[in-house]
């Protein structure tokens, strides 16, 4: 084994070591930045410094796809293999890159210069195809990450030289209550944010309102979580506020990794102060003294901009001790993920901040009483928090002028795929899918509409007949479509949906944490069967196998990942039975039997 000079590592660890295990991900990031990967002596030194057992260090490194125990190329190129990028030629770009570097996907070139990998959605679906690049310079022992959006086939030189390109996001819609400063190619400064009324909410809340008044206002606004679960935000805050014990924590969930989702990135890159203001108000409401802002590892630009916004806010007295003279102290820390979709699940995210493998916990107990470090915690999505300043500044009633009774306020949709203008659209809840698709996003491109994937990889397929469904929680539920994280991914009639399903099932097989059996085994088996569907080589009984695996994951998995990992497949089986060797009539009779065809499946089980 080559010798590694551990001196720079020891210096880097000096600040982190006193924190102990919670500093493990930051320490591993720092170490990898120094050495290009995490060789054994480096990993061992990190363990010693932080007091973490070596076997656990191994477990953590192995869990996160952006950490490497084996030497990686000085330039690591991660090419998105998920649907929106596939539609725009990601496969041929990956192939061209591999030919040029003379490697297979997943390998490192002989000269050690390049590692080329397939990766899961990079949150740049509106600017597909996308590549994420880590570049390491052995001479200076430094490394940096960049994103490369809208990769053209002739961009290979730039890719290999790690000259990145941002997303130049399109932000549109009928409203701009929360996106007014987004999509301008740079982050709004604190001053710009203040010019459009920013920081009024923090001032109002901390100076003029009690925590309970803040909670009541948010409850009255009808604001619910935008991370996928749609839980009422005010109720969550009240739970954390009333929970006994402390210290309490407030967590911003910016792990955005659901395929097709990029709204949180657009908010962080465009208007980071708004999100942090929402978190300050939330922290005040629950009585937290520390905010953790957890951003996925593949979002270098967002991370940088959030960090600068924090610096600005701190300098202006919005963070730190005795904020705005209110007597309220609040600290904030940015944490970087390292390549794991599951860390968006709230309890897995806590584990990750605690320096562990990102494995979801059994609930109950719930985060409001037993969250981060076992303490009362409120965790919210970036978009959820972006709406808080408006509610506090203008009042719940003003917020409720938009949307419906049950789906209040504005909503962001992530439109991608075969549309004229992919982007983030801010609209009031309640517009129709047709309005979003045709009037705002400019309609389907490349042929007639085949389908829309709603809600992401964990979503379901809509067709022509659903276009007049209104975009609200209640209407979508009635139509059997999940709102999820606001994904609207459009496919024209020329697209092979079997290929798209294979990508979605690969996504789940890659991202299952492996904790519980139904998902650990089921995501693998589901992918294998869909591989056969894709090749047109289904085995007798595959359709029943898919249904059994699908419902078993849905019913018996420990967390939301496994519980929704079959959602798109089960939906596709209803929409395109012919792809699975079934006639449409068979499926109709199944549907009419009620809940998800469970009865039929149960009968089939008695082989």
């Amino acid at each position: 084994m080559p010798d590694f000079d551990l001196t720079p590592l020891r210096a880097a660890l000096a600040d982190l070591a006193p924190q102990g295990r919670t500093a493990l991900l930051p320490a591993l990031h720092a170490a990898q930045s120094l050495y290009g990967y995490l060789p054994e002596p480096v990993a061992a030194e990190v363990g010693r410094a932080l007091g973490v057992p070596l076997a656990d260090i191994h477990g953590v490194i192995d869990f996160y796809s952006m950490f490497y125990r084996e030497p990686a190329g000085n330039t690591i190129l991660r090419v998105c293999a998920d649907p929106a990028c596939a539609l725009r030629g990601a496969d041929s770009i990956l192939n061209a890159m591999c030919r040029r570097a003379k490697v297979m996907p997943g390998d490192t070139s002989f000269d050690g210069r390049y590692t080329i990998e397939r990766t899961t959605c990079l949150g740049l679906c509106n600017a597909a195809p996308a590549v994420n690049i880590t570049q390491y310079d052995p001479a200076t022992q430094t490394s940096g990450d960049i994103s490369f959006a809208r990769v053209a086939p002739d961009a290979l030189d730039d890719l290999f030289a790690a000259r990145g390109r941002g997303a130049d996001d399109f932000v549109g819609g009928d409203l701009n209550l929360i996106t007014v400063l987004c999509g301008r190619g740079r982050a709004a400064t604190l001053e710009e944010y203040e010019t459009v009324g920013g920081m009024q909410a923090a001032k109002r809340a901390l100076r003029k309102m009690t925590p309970q008044q803040v909670i009541d206002e948010v409850k009255q606004s009808g604001l619910v979580g935008m991370g996928g679960a749609a839980f009422p935000t005010g109720v969550k805050w009240e739970g954390a506020a009333k929970a006994p014990g402390g210290p309490k924590y407030f967590v911003v969930n910016a792990d955005e990794s659901e395929p097709g989702t990029f709204k949180d990135r657009v908010l962080m890159e465009g208007d980071p102060c708004r999100i942090i203001e929402g978190a300050i108000v939330g922290a005040y409401a629950i009585g937290a003294s520390k905010i953790y802002f957890y951003i996925r590892g593949e979002y270098p630009t967002a991370t940088e901009r959030v960090q600068s916004a924090i610096d600005e806010l701190r300098a202006a007295g919005y963070l730190g001790k005795n904020i705005l003279g209110s007597g309220f102290d609040l600290d904030i820390e940015v944490r970087r993920g390292a390549g794991a979709y599951i860390c968006g699940e709230e309890t897995a995210l806590f584990e990750s901040i605690e320096g562990k493998r990102g494995l979801p916990r059994v609930k109950p107990p719930f985060p409001v009483t037993h969250g981060l470090f076992g303490k009362p915690t409120a965790i919210n999505n970036v978009e959820t928090l972006s709406k808080v300043p408006y509610i506090i500044t203008h009042g719940a009633a003003a917020f409720r002028r938009y949307g419906t009774e049950k789906s209040a306020g504005p909503k962001l949709f992530c439109v991608s795929g075969d549309v004229a203008r992919p982007g983030v659209y801010e609209v009031p809840f309640g517009i129709t899918i047709r309005h979003l698709l045709d009037d705002l996003a400019g309609g389907v491109e490349g042929g007639k509409l085949q389908t829309i994937l709603f809600g992401g990889a964990a979503g379901a397929f809509a067709t022509e007949k659903d276009l007049d469904v209104r975009l609200t929680f209640e209407d979508l539920r009635a139509a059997g479509l999940p709102l999820g994280s606001g994904v609207v991914m459009v496919f024209n009639e020329t697209r092979d949906m079997r290929d798209m399903l294979l990508r979605l099932t690969k996504f789940f097989a890659h991202e299952s944490c492996g904790k519980c059996y139904p998902c650990q085994l089921g995501t693998q088996r589901q992918m294998e069967i869909i591989e056969r569907v894709r090749e047109g080589k289904m085995l007798p009984g595959d359709s029943e196998r898919l249904t059994d695996v699908g419902w078993t994951m849905t019913d018996a998995s420990l967390c939301g990942l496994g519980q929704t990992a079959a959602s798109a497949v089960l939906s596709a089986m209803k929409v395109w039975p012919e792809l699975f060797g079934k006639k449409k009539s068979e499926v109709r009779s199944r549907k009419s039997e009620g809940k998800g065809g469970k009865k039929v499946v149960a009968k089939k089980q008695k082989r």
């Binding site: 191994h58 097989a509 299952s512 492996g514 089921g522 018996a556 519980q563 149960a602």
Partner: protein
């Protein structure tokens, strides 16, 4: 603690608050299968073969950790429950060598799990690891119940010699950089071997006997290795 009344498969039962559905069911003689659950280990609810249907719940509940509540209606053998249990067992059987898993074999029969149903799927075929004089590690038989990792850590020994490798289907039990056991913090207390339900961890002697070694050969093998370890 106050008693809670619920029904399990239609039978009314009263148990102290905080009791798990598993214990409540056992109390009235209802059998709920379990794989990962162990009386002396922290329950992590990972195998999910203990799932039951609780009226009004969106998904099935793991009986080993889910606590009873007043008026709860539990079904331990509904169609949904049976399908999940059977499919989990079929998938497990197709990925792992369950031939020596004495507690799981009867479940495969009871749920009529078809071992061939996913026969063409990937298996977790790990090579057998024979790197110390005390026990062998045959991870092709590992069901990832976590017990060994837990007894090695906070559930008993506080030794932390083993943890996990990779994730998802490819998860495995691993040491730091896959080092052999003598090069880890392992103190050969044998607790991991004691809690392993599948024969993946097995005393070296037992394994050598199975392999047809003579008592003399066994003495030799373990003694030689012990000496080697002492020197190291």
């Amino acid at each position: 603690m106050a008693d809670v009344t619920l029904t399990i498969d239609g039978k009314a039962v009263s148990v102290p608050a905080g009791t798990t559905i598993l214990k409540a069911a056992q109390g009235i003689g209802e059998h709920v299968p379990t794989i990962c659950f162990h009386e002396h280990c922290t329950a992590n609810a990972l195998c999910r073969v203990c799932v039951v249907e609780v009226e009004g719940a969106r998904v099935l509940s793991p009986a080993c950790v889910a606590q009873v509540s007043e008026g709860m209606k539990v079904q331990t053998r509904s169609e949904r429950v049976q399908r999940s249990r059977r499919t989990i067992l079929e998938m497990l059987d197709s990925a792992v060598d369950l031939s020596e898993a004495e507690s799981i074999q009867p479940m495969l029969k009871e749920y009529a799990a078809d071992g061939e149903r996913f026969a063409d799927g990937a298996r977790r075929d790990h090579p057998l690891l024979d790197d110390n004089p005390m026990y062998i590690r045959d991870y092709a038989k590992c069901v990832l119940c976590w017990r060994c990792v837990q007894v090695c850590a906070d559930d008993a020994q506080y030794t932390y010699a083993i943890n996990f490798g990779k994730r998802g289907f490819e998860t495995s039990i691993a040491t730091f950089f896959d080092k052999p056991m003598p090069a880890t913090t392992c103190v050969f207390c044998g607790q991991c071997v004691g809690v392993c339900p599948t024969g993946a961890l097995k005393p070296k002697r037992e394994w050598l006997l199975q392999e047809g070694a003579t008592p003399d050969e066994i003495m030799q093998a373990t003694r030689a290795e012990r000496r080697r370890k002492r020197k190291a």
